[in-house]
Every structure is written in structure tokens, then in C-alpha cells.
Amino acid sequence: VGRALPCGGLATPFAAGAAPQTSDQQGCINDVNNYGVRVAKSQNRADVDRVKNAGRGLAFRLGVPPQPQTAQACLTNDVRGRVAKDTVKLQDRETRSCLAEPGQLPGFGYSGSATAAAAARAAGLGIVAGLFGPDLDASIVLESADHDGARCQSDVLRYAGDLFYATWKEALTAKKNVLKGSARLAGSGPVASATDLEAELIAVVRWKENYNNADGFEFNATFHDQGAKTVVGVQIPPNGGIQDGLTMIDFLAHHPSTASFISRKLVIRFVAEIPPQRLVDEAAGVFLGSGGDIRAVLETILLSPEFLTSPQYRHAKVRRPLVFYAGLARAYGADPAQLNSNTLRNRVADMGEDLYDAGPPTGYPDVSAFWLSPGTAVKRFNDAEATSRGSYGFTFTYPVSGGTSAQVIDGLASYLFLAPISSETPARESDSSTCFRSRSRRSGCSRRRPSCSPAPSS
């Protein structure tokens, strides 16, 4: 009951004062706000790094010469470029959501992403100044002198940043709702200033601070359009309330295009980047016939001849960067407790697919041309080798040590295949390798070893 009150109360002043914002305009405002907060978050994360590095006496991490290597200067050095990166993302988002089409720009004094980014950076820096005073270097507690004190310093900064971030997220959610409410209000009165909007939002945020939505879903009847409407051809009668959403979900879930779309994504995921249409169609049929039972759809795909036996689709998939490095960690039996996940993440980022960093709303593309090239193939080999020497935070125990070469092979096979290999296999392996080396280049000895020559009859 209490929850609905301030929101309803908020809607009233805007009914009189705010020009309704179209959904495009709302998209612009919401996106710039959300991405702006990310800039603030990056600034804070970078600040935490700085305080940590300064506390450890790692001056060289505070700046890249000729940047000054003091903690205070470092606040704006942005050594790792995260803040700059998020600023660029904010710009990209603004471009798409605010400037790509006429009509996206909000109807009141829109200040642009640069202003938002500057404010976000200033907010992040403000936390540092608030906690440590005007000269950060003078306030740094050295880890060598006071370990717990240094840790406390960086933790406090981090949690202050988290609090700031959470507060803003809450504010933006409220702002979003207000905008949504104002959008369908007819008539245009005087334009509400951005300051008014912020003031109202802060009131809501303060009120909502302790609210915790346990099931993650909220239907707000106050802002729901209760009129009759037609959405992608579906007629929705008036006064449906929450049922309107359920009707649309049902419609979309049972639409043949949804079945084809999801089936196609799954076939691309499991079979080939250019998905065999026959299998997509079969899987889509199962999807529709089973009422969207994903288990049945996957069963169809995973038991299909395309997946199981077709030579055309063998080796048709290549691991994406994240899966590759996760695979490395597992293959080496890396100790999760020891694993420095940020180091691992940096490797994934270096391959071009940093976590949660995809630009387009559809995420990173699902075809390998975007992550696989001769250059990244070589990088993979280098990283696999470096990892085996303990680089990138991997600590593991080599599964086999000592013994004859046969024992080493047996040991490795047991490790990799969870069982020793049969006594015939090593002989066959070496024989076929010989065949490959001697014949392949000239006569086209099959690229698949088993058909190369009959196995010795031993």
C-alpha cells in the first residue's frame, strides 16, 4: 500500500507540469542515465584500484609516463582506460537511443552524454574527496605500515561506491516509471526542469531505500495503460490490468516465428554457424508441438544426424573466448580458490569479448569470424602454453610425473579420458601418424586417421 503512494503522488505534479515523453524519448533518457551510472561505477572501481596500488606502494600502476604517478593525479589518469571505455559506450548508446532518429531527443533541456559522463566522473571523484580529503596521497595508508588500515581504506571506498551506485539505480528505476507515466498523459503544460525531476526522484529513492522486491517482478497498476489497444495484431480489451502482459507473453510464446527463432539459435549454438535448415525446421516443429518444451527441442537437435554423424558439420564450431579460457581452467584442473578471475577476464577481454561489454543489444555475434582469426589462433596457443606454466593465475598439479614414456602417455590418457586407453591404441596412433606424414601432402591420405591404413593385427 505504502509503495504505491509516492509513485502515485509523483505522477500528479507531472500530469500538470511535464511534457509527456514519447517512448523514443524515454529510451534516450533511460539509456543515457543507465550508461552514465556505469561511468560513475567505473570511476569508482578505478579509484579503488588506485587506493590499493598506492597503499601497496605500486606507484608505477598509478600512471603511464609522462602521467604523474601520484594517487591524486591518478584519479584522473584512468590508467586502464575503463572510464574512457564506459564514456565511449555512453556516447554510443546516446547515438543510438537519442540521436539516430529525429524525435528521440527529450522535450526538455537535454544536456548530452558528455555532460552526463562528466557528472558521473565527478560523482565518483566526489566520493574519494569526501572520504580522503583534497590530497589523496597524504591520506593513503601504506599496506606495509598498516595492513588492515590500508585494506579498510580501499574497502570503504568500494562500499561507498556500491552505495552510490545502488542509490542511483533505484533513482533511475523510479525516473523510468515516472517517464512512462507521463508519456501517455495528454496535453502539454509547461516543461518540467530536469532539476524538478531529480528532486522528485530523490524523494522516491529515500522512501524506497528499504524496499526489496523479493520476486524481481513488479506490476504497477498506476502506470498501466488501461485503454483498449492493438499490439502486433493482437487486440487487447480495456481494463485488462496484469492480464494484458500475460496475453502478450502467451501470444509471443506460441508464435511460429518464436519457435523458428529459438530453434535456429540453438542449432547455431550446437551444430553449425550456418545452421542446416532441415534441422531448424524439425526443431521448430517440436517446439510448437510440445508447447515450447526446450528439453524436447534439444533432444531433437542433439540426436539429429547433423549433430551426431554428418561429416559436413564436424569441427563446425569453435569455442568463443570465454568458453576457451573456462575450458583451459577446467582442463588444467585449476583451483577455483586460487584462480584470479580478473586475470582470466583480462585474457577474454584481450580476445575482444570482455564480459558484459557487448555493444549491440543482441550481444556478441554468434559467428566465429568475430572472434577467430589467425592472430587470435596464435594467441590461444601462446596463452595455453603460458597457462601451463602457471601464468594468468592458474595453479594446478601436473597429473603425471616421472616414469617411462608409456607410463606418461597412460597417465595423461587416464587424466583426459577418465580411463586408461587400450593396449592397441598407442600402436595404432603412432602408425597412422607415420602414414599421415609420409603420404598426406602428395596423395591426399585421408585427414581422418582411422581410415588411413588398417590397424596392425596385434
Binding site: 556516447q91 577467430l372 602454453e385 601418424s433
Partner: protein
């Protein structure tokens, strides 16, 4: 005719293209005389009007009261146009006749989406979303030797303009493109056998392309006496480009990108450092190439220009016509090329949909002239490179005399 081991293995499964394009189809130029095309894509839609300023058009000054290049501060080019002083080095190249600008150039497609417009330009197929391979790749398919070294993207992923059926290389830097670590030689031998078995597959082909090129790229001398702009990714990529070209290992096209040109706000302050980076890098590349400048043509492009009128944030929003650049020893430089010598004008009545600079030079005409006059590809063979577009010498903008 000889096939390399990689070509043989690469084609053992589904990829038959290597067989369809035997190496003897390659032009018979001797090493060191092959023409090279370098493309630099300014991602984000660079503001052409504040780069090459139409000082002779009064509507430039009235449309941009807050962000104009102040009259008299520009570097004079041809009397009508002046260069933003942040781009100081190209003026020297311009005066030397090694650089020219193309104004009111770009894509005929009206899209203002970076994503679509970049794809359209990388694919040389404005408005056509069914074309998914790059124009440089289609060029290599026609004219390359099927060797991966023919095309190089100086980035982690293959450039969209180079993506497609013809093999090419993509790596961030020459020095990073090497098998490193312990037992490098032994590992490579083992991997070579292992991936030799995977010829014709996605992974196998990339590894085979890499391995074939590793030794070749390892021979490249990356030292240079020319100083490139400090900390510039573009400068580093052009430095590597110069090294690749000078080493004569068969590179025909190189694709590079430089991001950050989307200046909706504070355009003056943001354009200056990027302009200095681009111009300084081009100047260093020019000097570094030395004797190889004549066989190297560098094209600079962007997905679209920006609006004529400044916005409320001291920036400019997405527009239409923009500026392209060409640098090379063989071009008829020292000019700002406008289609038929007619500046379309910035007056409200002259604008594209009332807002933007018109595009009077289609970027495909620039590409076509580059392929024909520099790379030696016959216009009659360009059909596959420019789908739905008929290249014609009569529309060449005139990079060459």
C-alpha cells in the same frame, strides 16, 4: 603451378576456393612493385565540415556559430577550402601533392545508424543488408593469390571489409603474431601435424593460415627511424603497415580502424587531438614508406558526415555527406576534389533533406578508381566487388590524372 601445403590442406574438406583461385592467376609483378591499398576507417562518423572547412561558403559560419574553425585560423588549401589547424601535417603532404581530400563524399544511403552505415561501407553495398562479406575480400577473391598474407587486418578480429571467403590475416601487431613460450619450435611442429588434420574447418583454416604466414611475418623488420605519434593505436598500426609493405612479403591490402569520431558534444576540443593523431600518423606513415610511397595508396573514410548545424551541446549530430582522404605518391594530390568541381552548398535550400551536406561523390566511385588506377583491376571485372553498382571510369572522382 604450385600449391602450398596450406592451400592443399585448407581445401581438403569444404573449402574449395583455393583450388578455384590458383596462384598463377596472380598478376606477374615482381616483388617490391606490387601496389598496396591501405584503408583507414574513421569509426563514429567524422565531421567533414570542421576538417576541411568550406571557408568560401558563408552558411558554414552562420550554421556553426559556436564550433566553427574561426575565419583566418584555417590552413589555406585551395582558396575555397581550408584545413582545420589541428590537422597540421597533412597540409604539408597536401602541398607536396601526396594527399588529396574528397568533399561531399560518402554513402548514398540515408541511414544515420553507425552500425548499418559502417556495414554498408565495409561491404560496399549501401542499403543492402544481405551482403555480408567485405569489399576488400571480394577484391582479393578476384585478384589475390589465395595467400592469407594478401590481406591483413591490424586488429584482433578480421576487419569487416576483409571478411569473407578469401583467406586473410588478422593480428593486432607484428610482434604479437608469433608463437612464444617454451618449446616453441617443437610445439609448432606438433600443432602443424594436428591442425593439418583439420584442414577445411573453421579452426584448421585459421591455424593453417597463421602458420603459413608466421615465418613470413617473422622476417619483417619492425624498426623504423620515423617517429609515430606517441601512444597512438593508429600510429602503431601504420608503423606495422609500413614495415609489412617495405618487406615485400606479398601484402596487397591492409585494413585499419580508428574509433572515437562521434562528437555530439564538445566537438572542437574532441576533434583536435584525434585530428592531430590522424594527421601525425599519416605524416609518419608517408615519411616511413619512403620509396614505397608510390606503390601505396591510403584511403581514409567514415560512415557518414555530420549535420551542418551545430547542436545545443557544441557538437554535431549524424548527417550525410562527409570527407574522404587519399594519400599516395602516385595520386594527383594537392586538391580538394568535389564532384564536377561544384560545391553542393550549405544553404538551407541546398541541403540533403533540408539538414545535411549532400553526397555528390559516391564512396564506391572512389573505391573503384583506387582498384582500377592503383591496383590495376579492370572496371569490367568489378561486378562482384560492387554488387548492384556499375563502376564506370566516367564517374571516377579523379584521384589520378
Amino acid at each position: 603451378m604450385t600449391f602450398t601445403r596450406r592451400q592443399f590442406l585448407r581445401s581438403t574438406a569444404v573449402g574449395m576456393t583455393a583450388f578455384l583461385l590458383p596462384s598463377w592467376l596472380r598478376s606477374a609483378r615482381a616483388a617490391g612493385t606490387d601496389p598496396v591499398l591501405v584503408t583507414i576507417f574513421q569509426r563514429g562518423a567524422a565531421d567533414g565540415l570542421n576538417t576541411v572547412v568550406p571557408t568560401g561558403d558563408p552558411f558554414y559560419y552562420s550554421s556553426r556559430p559556436g564550433i566553427q574553425v574561426p575565419p583566418g585560423t584555417e590552413l589555406p588549401l585551395d582558396g575555397f577550402f581550408g584545413l582545420n589547424p589541428a590537422f597540421v601535417d597533412p597540409q604539408g603532404l597536401y602541398q607536396a601533392g601526396d594527399l588529396c581530400f574528397l568533399h561531399a563524399a560518402g554513402s548514398p544511403d540515408p541511414s544515420r545508424s553507425h552500425f548499418d552505415a559502417q556495414d554498408f561501407m565495409d561491404h560496399a553495398a549501401p542499403g543492402n543488408k544481405t551482403i555480408v562479406d567485405g569489399w576488400l575480400n571480394r577484391y582479393l577473391t578476384i585478384a589475390g593469390g589465395g595467400e592469407p598474407i594478401s590481406g591483413v587486418s591490424l586488429s584482433n578480429a578480421t576487419a569487416k571489409s576483409l571478411a569473407g571467403a578469401a583467406p586473410s590475416l588478422a593480428f593486432e601487431s607484428i610482434t604479437g603474431f608469433a608463437l612464444t613460450g617454451n618449446w616453441a619450435t617443437e610445439r609448432r611442429a606438433a600443432l602443424d601435424v594436428r591442425y593439418g588434420l583439420l584442414g577445411g574447418t573453421l579452426l584448421g583454416n585459421n591455424v593453417l593460415d597463421a602458420f603459413e604466414a608466421l615465418d613470413l611475418v617473422a622476417t619483417v623488420n619492425t624498426t623504423s627511424s620515423v617517429i609515430y605519434p606517441n601512444g597512438s593505436e593508429l600510429g602503431a598500426a601504420l608503423k606495422d603497415s609500413a614495415a609489412l609493405i617495405k618487406s615485400n612479403i606479398g601484402v596487397r591490402v591492409i585494413a585499419i580502424s580508428i574509433g572515437g569520431w562521434d562528437h555530439h558534444t564538445n566537438l572542437v576540443a574532441q576533434l583536435a587531438p584525434l585530428g592531430a593523431e590522424l594527421s601525425g600518423s599519416l605524416k609518419a606513415f608517408h615519411d616511413d614508406l619512403g620509396a614505397d610511397l608510390g606503390r601505396t595508396l591510403t584511403l581514409v573514410m567514415t560512415e557518414f558526415g555530420r549535420r551542418i548545424d551545430e547542436n545545443g551541446g557544441d557538437g554535431t549530430d549524424h548527417g550525410h555527406g562527409g570527407v574522404m582522404m587519399a594519400m599516395g605518391g602516385g595520386i594527383a594530390g594537392g586538391r580538394v576534389i568535389v564532384k564536377d568541381g561544384v560545391w553542393p552548398g550549405l544553404a538551407p535550400a541546398d541541403r540533403f533533406i533540408g539538414e545535411d551536406l549532400q553526397v555528390t561523390t559516391d564512396f564506391r566511385d572512389v573505391f573503384a578508381e583506387a582498384l582500377n588506377r592503383h591496383m590495376g583491376l579492370a572496371v569490367s571485372s568489378m561486378g562482384p566487388v560492387f554488387p548492384g553498382f556499375s563502376a564506370s571510369t566516367s564517374r571516377f572522382p579523379g584521384l589520378y590524372t
